[in-house]
């Protein structure tokens, strides 16, 4: 594609698109620093004059916040637990304030990373066998995709039943398996399109040169579709990171993820704790932004090569 000239109407279009895309992010970050009386104020407060970190303290170090407010809430050595003597940010009381969001943050990291790795490994094998050995003929690729053809809630109920039977609810490995199962169709199809774009003669040349079939895939195919694998990995990671439904119904107390935790910041008297939710949401996008920044080069190339061709 020849480089396009930058014109004034292009500039206006891009600016509008950028505002449209980035406004929610701006609003999220802005709200995360607002005190509770500014969350839903009319007219809206764009950038708070009384910026506070209380929302962040609530999710990350709630005890610091409560001590600051004079109400001591701590676990004693005997395990006895005192109730908060004051309300936290936005009128939140009790459990919400005592527990930080760290469990959910770690839960999201562990589950997303392992589920993504599992999904990519399984998807890559499936993609190779479908693309190179026509495994399962014409029907298997569509059969794999069929899991995505109806709303997730339809398969969520059976998941709950099955998971209860085998004791997989409220466990890390259970959620990892569930996420991998749900994302494998995507990873298979995306990776398949990258492999399809690579002439199979390159691997065959490597076999003639002395590599076994398996090693030809490991040493030749995989390095050549590296960009595609990275792009697919990021895509699956985002899916897993932001998944809500399965995490909600398959976890109770021992395991949590960020999206589920977000929904818990809700108080009986004040409604949704927008500032706290915004703070956790802001925290949750940081890892993805960092990863995205580092793999940007591969991502752009990966997405233009292969993903939508054919």
């Amino acid at each position: 594609m020849p480089p396009k000239k930058f014109t004034w109407y292009n500039g206006i279009g891009l600016t509008l698109a950028l505002i449209f895309a980035l406004f929610p992010v701006f609003w999220m970050v802005s709200t995360s620093f607002k005190p509770s009386n500014e969350w839903v104020k009319q007219p809206p407060v764009w950038i708070s004059g009384n910026a506070t970190v209380e929302n962040y303290l609530t999710i990350l170090w709630p005890s610091v916040l409560l001590e600051k407010r004079g109400g001591l809430t701590q676990y004693t050595e005997e395990g006895e637990q005192k109730v908060a003597e004051t309300t936290g940010v936005g009128g939140a009381v009790g459990d919400i304030l005592i527990k930080s969001a760290w469990q959910a943050i770690w839960g999201s990291i562990i589950i997303s990373v392992f589920a993504t790795a599992l999904s990519i490994i399984v998807g890559l094998m499936a993609a190779l066998s479908i693309s190179r050995y026509r495994f399962g003929g014409n029907t298997t690729p569509f059969f794999i995709l069929s899991g995505r053809m109806f709303p997730p809630i339809a398969i969520a109920i059976p998941f709950v039943v099955m998971f209860s039977d085998v004791g997989a609810t409220d466990t890390y490995w259970g959620l990892i398996l569930a996420y991998a199962a749900v994302t494998v169709p995507f990873s298979t199809w995306m990776l398949k399109s990258f492999i399809d774009d690579l002439p199979k003669e390159i691997e065959e040349a490597a076999m003639m040169d002395g590599l076994s079939r398996w090693m030809a895939h490991v040493k030749i195919t995989i390095p050549l579709i590296k960009g595609g694998i990275i792009a697919t990995t990021l895509f699956i990671l985002i899916l897993n990171w932001s998944e809500f439904l399965f995490a909600l119904i398959l976890t109770y107390t021992k395991v949590a993820t960020i999206p589920v935790q977000l929904a818990k910041y809700f108080s009986a008297t004040e409604g949704a704790l927008y500032g706290v939710q915004a703070a956790l949401a802001t925290v949750s996008i940081v890892p993805l932004v960092i990863i995205g920044f580092f793999i940007q080069k591969h991502l752009v190339r990966g997405l233009t090569l292969g993903a939508i061709k054919r």
Binding site: P199, E201, I202, M207, M208, G210, S212, R213
Partner: protein, 364 residues
């Protein structure tokens, strides 16, 4: 036991319902260069892939140095192959591409360097060894692919239309080079091409494959002069051979062949080759054996020029005989015009006869 390096024994290959190869048998003596000649889709590539081990036959077996290797993986066969699309490793430099097979064989680094630079000299690609394939010209890619095959000491070489992507001059040059290389290294080559001039120029033996089976395995010139059947005759030669349906007349011990309004006498030698029962045959006449003259000659057939097409060294002229047409190639300097009446002579010794039903060549 024979000293054939490679043998394909009635190999069939089906892809689903389509049959790519049907009962194909072929033997290559050690040190020979055999050209697989056939149009696109005839089964050339499939044959090479079966020999390479990249495909396994539906029926039949592949033998290498007297061993049944049908079930062997490609990397166990020690055969080098140059692919149709060359299939260089795009992420590796020219040097790394050529060195890769030796690298896999764990050859010491110094030996690899020596060998790669020797081959690069031979192929005149030393200057591109440090660059990646995306920066190569077509000819350079071709040579790197050849180098990657030559760097090893394989049992044999498979070349799948290796010169197809090159322009004409380069093709001629590399073709000559390839033949010299084959003589130098004394290895067995199996070379697939759809181009009969390339086949004639290269091969000791040419194997014509049509519709998945071997039609003829013969030295190049035999293929041209004595094709096994109508299809082979048609595929070999440009402009293509004239094929006309003729009636055989035998009167008073003198035979002649008639087609359209033409009757041509047959020499006793030509006639002796035709079995006595035969009444109708298909006659094949190479364009260069059709002699066209301006003035009417006794015993010659009369026709009109219907088309003139200059081919550089030759000119192809179409002669119309009211119902039958013949193409003739004549030396460039002679000039004919359209609609010009001419007389045509054809030496019966140069005629090739085919059975009307089976298409097989009749006679010795």
């Amino acid at each position: 036991m024979s000293d054939n390096l490679l043998e394909l024994r009635s190999v069939s290959k089906n892809y689903g319902k389509t049959q790519a190869l049907e009962e194909l048998s072929l033997a290559l003596p050690k040190g020979s260069l055999v050209v697989l000649l056939g149009p696109a889709g005839a089964g050339k590539t499939t044959t090479l892939r079966l020999v390479a081990g990249l495909e396994s036959p539906t029926k039949g077996s592949v033998w290498l140095e007297g061993q049944d290797v049908t079930k062997w993986q490609p990397n166990q066969r020690n055969i080098a192959m140059v692919f149709d699309n060359l299939a260089l490793y795009p992420n590796r430099t020219g040097y790394e591409n050529i060195a890769f097979p030796m690298h896999l064989a764990r050859v010491p680094k110094a030996d690899i360097e020596r060998r790669v630079s020797a081959i690069a000299d031979q192929l005149r690609i030393s200057h591109i060894l440090g660059r990646v394939p995306a920066t190569f010209s077509g000819g350079e890619r071709q040579r790197v692919a050849l180098g990657r095959a030559m760097v090893r000491e394989p049992k044999m070489f498979l070349l799948d239309e290796p010169l197809s992507s090159l322009d004409f001059m380069l093709r001629i040059e590399l073709r000559t080079e390839l033949k010299r290389l084959q003589k130098d290294v004394g290895k067995t080559f199996l070379y697939a091409t759809p181009d009969y001039t390339e086949a004639l120029a290269l091969g000791d033996m040419v194997c014509v494959i049509l519709k998945g089976s071997v039609r003829q395995l013969a030295p190049a010139q035999t293929l041209y002069d004595r094709p096994a059947d109508r299809d082979v005759a048609r595929f070999v030669g440009n402009p293509p051979i004239n094929l006309v349906r003729g009636e055989l007349d035998r009167v008073d011990g003198r035979a002649s062949i008639r087609f359209g309004n033409v009757a041509l006498p047959l020499s006793p030698e030509a006639e002796r080759n035709l079995p006595s029962g035969v009444k109708q045959v298909e006659v094949g006449i190479r364009p260069e054996n059709v002699v066209v003259q301006r003035q009417a000659n006794a015993g010659a057939a009369l026709g009109r020029i219907s088309d003139v097409e200059p081919l550089g060294m030759h000119t192809a002229v179409e002669v119309d005989f009211q119902g039958a047409g013949l193409t003739a190639t004549i030396a460039g300097e002679r000039e004919f015009e359209e609609n010009q009446p001419v007389s045509v002579n054809i030496l019966s010794e140069t005629m090739i006869f085919f059975d009307l039903v089976t298409g097989k060549r009749i006679g010795a």
